[in-house]
């Protein structure tokens, strides 16, 4: 069965500093990987995805993520955090081997708090 682990419940960073939100995954085949962000009382907003190709994926709002197959990780990064980046971040995985009918499995989420 596929799964996603987000080992940190909360990440604290000062505005202007780089941020990293960690994600590791487990699938039987090759993964499709996604990051979403959720602001209070809002649905999930898509940030970026890894399907194939370059291991460094760039997404919305200056975020990027690095796919590392040997470490089964897909950490979310941003060079310079903004207070407005404070939100709940979800990593999700789909098993490529199962094609379109595999479930998108989410991690439990990591709260990012950026202090002024």
């Amino acid at each position: 069965a596929q799964s996603v682990a987000q080992p940190e419940d909360q990440v604290n960073v000062a505005e202007g500093n780089p941020l990293t939100v960690k994600c590791t995954y487990s699938v039987s085949g090759n993964p499709y990987l996604f990051w979403y962000v959720q602001y209070p009382n809002r649905g999930l907003q898509f940030l970026l995805k890894y399907i194939t190709g370059d291991n460094l994926v760039k997404g919305s709002y200056g975020f990027e993520a690095e796919f590392n197959k040997s470490q089964t990780s897909f950490h979310l990064k941003k060079p310079s955090a903004l207070v407005s980046d404070s939100a709940l971040y979800f990593c999700a995985v789909r098993d490529m081997e199962r094609g379109g009918y595999s479930t998108l499995t989410f991690g439990k989420g990591t709260m990012l708090l950026v202090s002024p």
């Binding site: 490529m96 379109g100 439990k108 989420g109």
Partner: protein, 115 residues
């Protein structure tokens, strides 16, 4: 482009009552999903539609939950009768197709409180 629309945004009911949620996906999106997000957890898939057919409802508690997408566009999710543990945010999402590469876009959700 309009996003995924959901209504109502909030609903409070007593246990054993029934409730229904409505979702209108992004225009042209053939695949529609309903998720349940319990506080402190990630979303969990309840049911997936491809056009008006059910693709996956393995996680749907069918004794109390039902969903339909009759014309392949709008969808409704119903709970009858509701239990306390059904308190959660119900998220609707849509994608162009069922491919694993297709991005799912989410609506704002309906927050259900069962008293």
């Amino acid at each position: 482009e309009a996003g995924v629309a959901q209504s109502p945004r909030y609903k409070i009911i007593e246990k054993r009552q029934s409730v229904a949620f409505w979702c209108n996906p992004i225009s042209g999106h053939a695949t529609l999903y309903w998720y349940q997000q319990i506080l402190g957890q990630g979303p969990k898939l309840l049911i997936q539609f491809q056009n008006n057919g059910v693709v996956d409802d393995s996680q749907l508690p069918k004794d109390r939950f039902s969903a339909e997408r009759l014309k392949g566009v709008d969808s409704t999710l119903k709970i009858q009768p509701a239990k306390l543990e059904d308190s959660a945010v119900y998220l609707c999402a849509s994608s162009l197709g069922p491919s694993g590469t297709d991005t799912q876009y989410f609506g704002p959700g309906t927050r259900l409180t069962v008293l």
